[in-house]
């Protein structure tokens, strides 16, 4: 396990010495062994995929490399020389550049300032005290232009832009000073297809110039098109280092999750198409009519039936999250009507939305989902405290019993209901948030990217949960960026593009193996990405 290498790669390409070698890295956080003897070997001119489930230790390993975390023990060699990286600054000086998973742009600085921040020396010349912004702008505007950042946008604060643009800015920043080692931590999340393609092209071009690329991704299909070598991590250890050419997707999944995982994935895939639960009167559960919000949503109308799972497809920035936020009363609607069970409802605040029978599992669990200092039980009960209070007074025994029942029925792994929720893993936090929504007994349950950042096991469980909920008659709305996820989960998918509904797809084949699958996928992509509207 210590120095795993399922293929003797060095024997095949003896001419090239490894550019980066990490050996036997250990790191312990407050009683948790995050890295337990990890080794990583990356050559110059190699795209090296780093894979593993949540909590496998990938991010910690990358943080060690980018200077954000100091390892307890272990050895890092760069071009044959041992180095120590105590701060991101030192990493940069060594030519290690990182595109972090969490957005790390600085909102109050302009795009230009963000790009040169921390790299003034490389962009303005050594030892220069004063910064000439215009000169730097000239140097980077072509690169920025390739990624769709116009010259005038360089001078605007990053805070003006959405998440998508911010990621693009980070990519430009990382490329502005050509690195020797480039770390990309899930760089494509939130990118549109053509931007992904562009990024991949840039990765290849850097590869040709001998840059060592370390690339973390959750998308196994991307790995096979692009990566030369795959290192798989699990539980803070490296499991295997294999050339991609000698690997099948199935083998890779086995490496990542152990023997039984693939069966689980297939089982999740094999759920038959569900019947819709028929209502007893003429009104749909939810009817949205002509919803509009200036600059974000344009004249959106749709229905959701009882027990139906409606998917909302679309590219990043199409307005999907904005639509459900408006439904929940988190953002204001400027016109339009919402009817629930035939009755018009005015939803100006999330509190009203919950009263009307809506509930939402939000995207970005860490920022919008969990209340970090509250316990699991308190997080579950918080949206419907009526279920655990009598006359406004909390009944702790009732609260505990409530939490226990959800912990059992949803399979939430926690030391106990009193555990602060921040100590749980991502998938279990997500289940607790789902429990919170279920506890409000919603008639319409919204999931915004329900499986983002959780591993395949938890993903399958969340999918099963969503199906169960719909089976019991609750209407479900699901937003997901992965089309495959939508297709396997939903009864019907509507497609959004630039704030408007542009299409609807019924009769969805639920198995990836089915013939119609690719056709449906392409129909969605085509509608979602058409620009000539």
């Amino acid at each position: 396990m210590k120095a795993p290498s399922s293929v003797p790669v060095e024997a095949q390409r003896p001419a090239e010495a490894p550019h980066l070698r990490m050996t036997d890295i250990h790191k312990r956080f407050q009683g948790v062994q995050a890295l337990n003897g990890v080794s990583l070997l990356v050559r110059g001119g190699e795209i090296h995929a780093l894979l593993g489930g949540n909590g496998a230790g990938k991010s910690t390993l990358l943080n060690v490399l980018s200077g954000l975390v100091t390892p307890d023990s272990g050895r890092i060699e760069l071009a044959g020389q041992e180095v120590s990286i105590g701060h991101p600054r030192e990493a940069q000086a060594l030519g290690i550049s990182t595109i972090h998973q969490e957005l790390s742009t600085v909102p109050d600085l302009t795009v230009l300032e963000n790009i040169f921040l921390g790299r003034e020396e490389a962009l303005t010349g050594k030892g220069s005290l004063f910064v000439n912004r215009r000169q730097i702008a000239r140097r980077i505007q072509d690169l920025a232009g390739e990624f769709g950042i116009t010259k005038s946008e360089l001078w605007r604060p990053v805070g003006d832009f959405g998440a998508l643009k911010k990621r693009v800015i980070e990519i430009v920043k990382a490329l502005a000073v050509p690195p020797k080692v480039l770390i990309l931590d899930e760089p494509t999340s939130g990118l549109e297809e053509h931007e992904k393609t562009l990024l991949f092209e840039h990765m290849r071009s850097l590869q040709r110039r001998g840059v060592a690329l370390i690339w973390v991704t959750h998308h196994l299909d991307e790995v096979f098109g692009l990566a030369d070598v795959v290192t798989v991590m699990r539980d803070g250890r490296t499991i295997a280092r294999t050339e991609t050419a000698e690997l099948t997707p199935r083998e890779l999944a086995v490496q990542m999750f152990g023997g039984d995982a693939t069966e689980l994935m297939e089982a999740a895939d094999a759920v038959p198409a569900r019947r819709r639960v028929d209502g007893d009167d003429a009104h749909p559960r939810l009817r949205a009519l002509n919803l509009s919000r200036h600059g974000v949503l344009r004249d959106i109308s749709f229905d959701v039936e009882r027990g139906e799972i409606l998917g909302i497809a679309g590219l990043a920035g199409a307005g999907r999250t904005e639509l459900v936020r408006a439904l929940m009363g988190l953002d204001k609607l400027h016109s339009g009507r919402i009817e629930i069970d035939g009755k018009p409802r005015r939803i100006g605040h999330p509190k009203v939305a919950y009263k009307a029978g809506l509930a939402m599992v939000p995207e970005d669990r860490k920022q919008l989902g969990i209340l970090p200092d509250l316990s699991v039980a308190e997080n579950i009960s918080v949206s419907e405290l009526g279920s655990v209070t009598a006359g406004g007074v909390l009944r702790s025994r009732r609260e505990r019993a409530l939490a226990d029942s959800y912990i059992k029925s949803l399979g939430i792994k926690t030391p106990g209901p009193a555990e602060p929720i921040r100590n749980l893993s991502g998938g279990n936090q997500q289940k607790a948030i789902i429990a919170r929504c279920l506890n409000t007994e919603p008639s319409i349950l919204i999931f915004d990217e329900p499986t983002q950042g959780i591993d395949i096991h938890a993903k399958a469980e969340v999918h099963r949960l969503i199906r169960d909920v719909a089976e019991k008659g609750t209407s479900v709305i699901v937003i997901a960026s992965e089309f495959a996820e939508l297709i396997s989960l939903c009864d019907r998918v509507v497609v959004m593009n630039r704030g408007a509904l542009v299409g609807e797809i019924r009769d969805i084949p639920h198995r990836v193996a089915t013939d119609g699958y690719d056709a449906v996928k392409h129909a969605i992509i085509d509608k979602a990405s058409r620009a000539d509207r």
Binding site: F29, V32, A56, S59, P372, G392
Partner: protein
């Protein structure tokens, strides 16, 4: 040994324990050093004098837990003392005088809350502004001289009647603290306030009326400052401009010493009250030891620093001793619940 250590850690990890230990140690220390320190009458006299601090600390702690800050509490307390005494001096009956004082506080609390929530302004700046406004209004009200002397014995009796060996002011203060504590930990609205203090974005998504909850907290804080002012006016029977100036800083210090986090969502009312108790104990103890009273602000400063550092140290200590199980999940099993390695 290991059991003892983890037991000790758990004990220290309980909210309020560090401050309780600190207070006990300080009290015992003074009692040994200065025999007169533990004298019942002097303790009673002294605590009675500091009643307003305890009351505004409780209100301020609630605001901080709700994710805000209220710097206006001291000035509002002074102004409310002025308005209630003014009312009493002008012949209003005691009930009306009390309502005037508490009402003054409520109005300021409401303004603070509404302006901060509706216009989304920085709570620090808004309450700094209302601090100035309230302090200025007291100057206007007192017209640069003291307000002195109501003859209304009932009004004066509010603070100084004897109830079971304690003054009525002390009893009322204890009631306020207990009530506020119960509201925070035992009621739905208290839970909602705590949750929304942790972060308004997730609280909103969870369906909490974050803005309204915050306004409630400011209302309570303002109303309590008003009530503290009434008690102060009733005890002193005189009010002058600048009274209770700087109390807000003592209250903030007390809350922080008690482990209330300025980040919101963390801490409790009685812990903050203990923080206030520690501060006033130190003040009294040093006074009895003959230390120059001029030095008191130095003591407060040192105390805040030491308190915060010790509190952090204790929390970290508790964390390191907890959950020492190594993560060694067998292959193929799910990730451990407490994984940090994302």
């Amino acid at each position: 040994m290991k059991n003892f250590r983890s037991g000790a850690a758990r004990f220290l990890g309980i909210e309020g324990v560090p401050i309780l230990l600190a207070f006990t140690a300080v009290a015992i220390g003074f009692a040994l050093a200065v025999p007169s320190f533990a004298d019942g009458d002097s303790v009673k006299y002294y605590l009675n004098e500091e009643v307003p601090i305890f009351i505004i600390t409780a209100g301020l702690a609630l605001v901080i837990i709700a994710g805000g800050i209220d710097l206006s509490v001291g000035a509002v307390l002074g102004l409310s003392a002025g308005t209630s005494l003014w009312a009493s001096m002008h012949g209003f009956n005691p009930l009306v005088s009390v309502l005037v004082g508490v009402g003054t506080g409520l109005v300021f609390g409401l303004i603070n809350g509404l302006v901060i929530v509706k216009f989304r302004l920085s709570d620090f700046i808004v309450t700094l502004g209302t601090l100035n406004v309230a302090a200025g209004l007291l100057v206007v009200l007192t017209d640069h001289v003291q307000l002195v002397g109501t003859r209304d014995e009932t009004f004066l009796g509010l603070a100084s009647s004897s109830v079971g060996g304690l003054t009525s002011a002390m009893v009322l203060t204890v009631l306020v603290i207990v009530a506020l504590h119960l509201v925070l930990v035992k009621t739905g609205i208290g839970r909602r306030i705590r949750a929304s203090g942790m972060g308004s974005a997730p609280a909103l998504v969870a369906g909490l009326d974050v803005g309204r909850l915050k306004i409630y907290a400011y209302l309570v804080s303002g109303g309590l400052a008003g009530f503290g002012g009434v008690l102060l006016a009733a005890r002193l029977n005189s009010v002058q401009a600048g009274m209770a100036g700087g109390y807000e800083l003592i209250a903030v210090a007390a809350a922080v010493l008690g482990g209330v986090s300025l980040a919101g969502g963390r801490g409790g009312i009685w812990q903050a009250a203990l923080g206030a108790l520690l501060l006033v104990t130190l003040k009294q103890g040093f006074r009895l030891m003959g230390v120059d009273p001029l030095i008191f602000s130095i003591i407060t400063g040192v105390c805040i620093l030491v308190g915060v550092i010790v509190d952090r140290g204790a929390r970290r200590f508790a964390l390191t001793l907890r959950t020492p199980q190594p993560v060694q999940a067998p292959a193929g099993e799910l990730q451990p619940a407490t994984s940090k390695g994302r």
